[in-house]
């Protein structure tokens, strides 16, 4: 004989989402992890990526100044020249500050003969190799010109295919979105959740007719909004300040937002597993680091997973954050469509489902 008006869940959901969001925006940790860190990172990496590759060569004071070799070399925009005594330059060479020392001497014959001596080091093997190639090609060309060879037996023709210049920002920005997504999800949500649990905030909510699922969904929705704003912020700074490339403009932009929402939904599995299991911050902290650290290092946030040894790659390529990074790079740097990302979305979903199932078994509200 008790007919009461069943309370609707909708008003509760909207209100709790709004106030959870309100609470988060007043929380300095959310602000730091969610907004300040990504902006600082993206600015730093954006600036790194803008510096073109340079080679520094040393020319000792004893080298003759007026000769066709150094003249051609110093005319190149990517060559920087450092002058000084031979001892000084050798010191610089040994510590890898300059790629090689090039010294030219001239005989007193007429026409003069030149001899070029090149000193390289193992301190900086890639730069040395590159500079050696550049210098020998300059020497070869100069030889041909001076020997008056008009018609060499081998000719080289070069053709450039239209393409975008690959810049580091185009690689690192998708990684930064993933990185921020994971840190917000793990550090922001887990610690927030464990606190609310410990402070009996959730328990007090259960004393109302609002359903636990509504409470959980409103928590999820408020975090989702934070993550989308964060992705938006990174993208806007990337596009405006560092000319991050969006192959299809607004469509790619929206696709990245979709991927972020999808990624968060999958990562929430980890979050619920840890937050539901951990009784306090001390317990949550090592678990959170266990999940995040390997992913920050291995999932291709800052450099491609190809650079890892062969045996690490199967691990590195199958982490949830790797799937996210690969999916975003598929539609940005690789210019693919959202449909092309399905293997990665499948991988993310698989992780998510496993984690949600585990969380459902171990989750405790208290």
């Amino acid at each position: 004989m008790h007919k009461v008006k069943r309370p609707g869940q909708w008003r509760a959901f909207l209100s709790m989402t709004y106030y959870a969001l309100r609470a988060q925006t007043r929380n300095p940790a959310t602000f730091a992890f969610g907004f300040i860190f990504p902006v600082v990172f993206i600015t730093v990496f954006g600036l790194i990526g803008n510096t073109p590759q340079n080679y520094t060569i040393g020319i000792p004071n004893t080298s003759v100044s007026n000769n066709p070799i150094t003249k051609t070399l110093t005319g190149q925009s990517f060559i920087r020249v450092e002058q000084g005594s031979r001892e000084y330059l050798e010191g610089q060479l040994r510590v890898g500050k300059i790629a090689s020392i090039i010294s030219v001497s001239r005989s007193s014959q007429n026409p003069p003969r030149y001899s070029v001596s090149l000193v390289t080091t193992r301190a900086n093997p890639q730069q040395s190799a590159a500079v050696t190639t550049i210098i020998s090609s300059v020497v070869d060309k100069a030889n041909l010109a001076l020997s008056a060879v008009k018609n060499p037996p081998i000719t080289l023709s070069q053709q450039e295919v239209a393409g975008r210049q690959f810049r580091y920002i185009d690689f690192v920005l998708p990684g930064m979105i993933g990185f921020s997504l994971l840190s917000t999800a793990i550090f922001g949500v887990i610690f927030g959740f464990v606190f609310l649990k410990k402070a009996l905030v959730f328990k007090r909510m259960f004393a109302t007719p609002t359903k636990p699922l509504t409470i959980l969904l409103s928590q999820g929705a408020s975090r989702l909004i934070i993550v989308l704003v964060q992705t938006l912020l990174i993208l806007v700074i990337g596009v405006l300040a560092f000319k991050f490339y969006l192959p299809q403009g607004l469509i790619t932009f929206l696709e990245i937002l979709f991927l972020s929402a999808f990624g968060l939904a999958a990562l929430m599995g980890f979050v619920l597993l840890i937050a539901g299991f951990a009784q306090d911050e001390n317990c949550a902290s090592p678990l959170a680091n266990l999940v995040t650290l390997p992913q920050f290092l291995l999932s291709g946030v800052f450099f491609p997973t190809d650079s890892f040894p062969k045996w690490v790659q199967p691990i590195a390529n199958n982490l949830p954050l790797s799937y996210f990074n690969l999916a975003v790079r598929k539609i940005t740097t690789e210019g693919g469509t959202l449909a092309d990302t399905w293997p990665y979305l499948l991988g993310l979903a698989a992780w998510g489902i496993v984690m949600y199932l585990l969380a459902a078994k171990t989750f405790k509200w208290e």
Binding site: R6, A23, L200
Partner: protein, 261 residues
């Protein structure tokens, strides 16, 4: 104080029968039965660990009973927990609110959780926190926190409110002030169930009491009845006459009256 102590016509708003609550091997509540009458202030008195909080939380439907039945306003707690939640107000032992939300925001959120709306300023004025509308819970004093916590129990116009050790840790003024507030709420027709381990509180504030120990209810009745029952057994309080107190020692040594710090 004895305004309705002997009113037998009141209906039972809460009926607990043979309630058992176990956590694993541990029996927190061991086969208790009692009832609470409509409109009274009912106290559960007992030492720490007696099972007071578990009893309260089981009636509040925050915990599921291992066995036994609980009826709140005639509604079965096992079958319709949400209908019970809709009609009761709950204060937990510790302040259990978002630290980043203002008092008015918290009240609005709680109202939405009952699918209703409130005037937060009016509610805060009712508990003498009208000037704290923009404050955060952590900035309140102990007594203010408890008053706010009670305000949140009232957003859904409940017929019963449950207060778990509402005055623990409060100074004497704050305690008296809270008693006054609890009586005022009670006078508007709201039944009140509270737990305490303060004898004075049980005697002064509660219309009826259940005394709990080790998961059992060892006695129920009005404070007067309980005292009379004890006296009937021939109990005599041991009266100790002290020839001097520590204060006398102190004054003798320092030669000064204790002053209000």
């Amino acid at each position: 104080m004895a305004k309705k102590a002997t009113n037998k016509e009141k209906k039972n708003i809460i009926e607990v029968n043979n309630l058992i609550k176990k956590f694993g091997d541990f029996t927190a509540v061991n086969d208790i039965s009692f009832h609470v009458q409509e409109g009274e202030i009912f106290g559960i008195l007992g030492p720490n660990g007696a099972g007071k909080t578990t009893t309260l939380e089981t009636i509040e439907t925050l915990q599921k009973p291992t066995s036994g039945t609980i009826l709140v306003d005639g509604i079965d707690a096992k079958r319709h927990p949400d209908d019970i939640k809709q009609r009761i107000g709950v204060q937990l032992q510790s302040t259990s609110f978002y630290p980043e939300l203002k008092l008015t925001e918290l009240l609005k959120m709680f109202a939405a959780m009952y699918d209703t709306e409130v005037n937060p300023t009016e509610m805060l004025e009712k508990v003498q926190l009208g000037d704290k509308a923009g404050s955060f819970v952590n900035k309140l004093s102990g007594g203010q926190k408890q008053r706010f916590s009670i305000a949140t129990t009232l957003v859904n116009k409940p017929i019963v409110i449950f207060l778990d050790e509402p005055t623990t840790g409060l100074d004497p003024q704050a305690r008296l002030n809270l008693w006054q507030m609890i009586r005022e709420i009670n006078n508007t027709g709201v039944t009140i169930v509270l737990t305490t381990h303060y004898m004075e509180e049980a005697e002064q504030l509660c219309d009826r009491l259940a005394i709990m120990d080790s998961g059992k209810i060892v006695a129920t009745g009005t404070p007067r009845e309980l005292i009379e029952n004890l006296l009937k057994t021939g109990f005599k309080k041991e009266i100790v006459r002290k020839d001097a107190s520590l204060e006398d020692v102190f004054l003798h040594l320092t030669g000064k009256e204790l002053r209000d710090a």
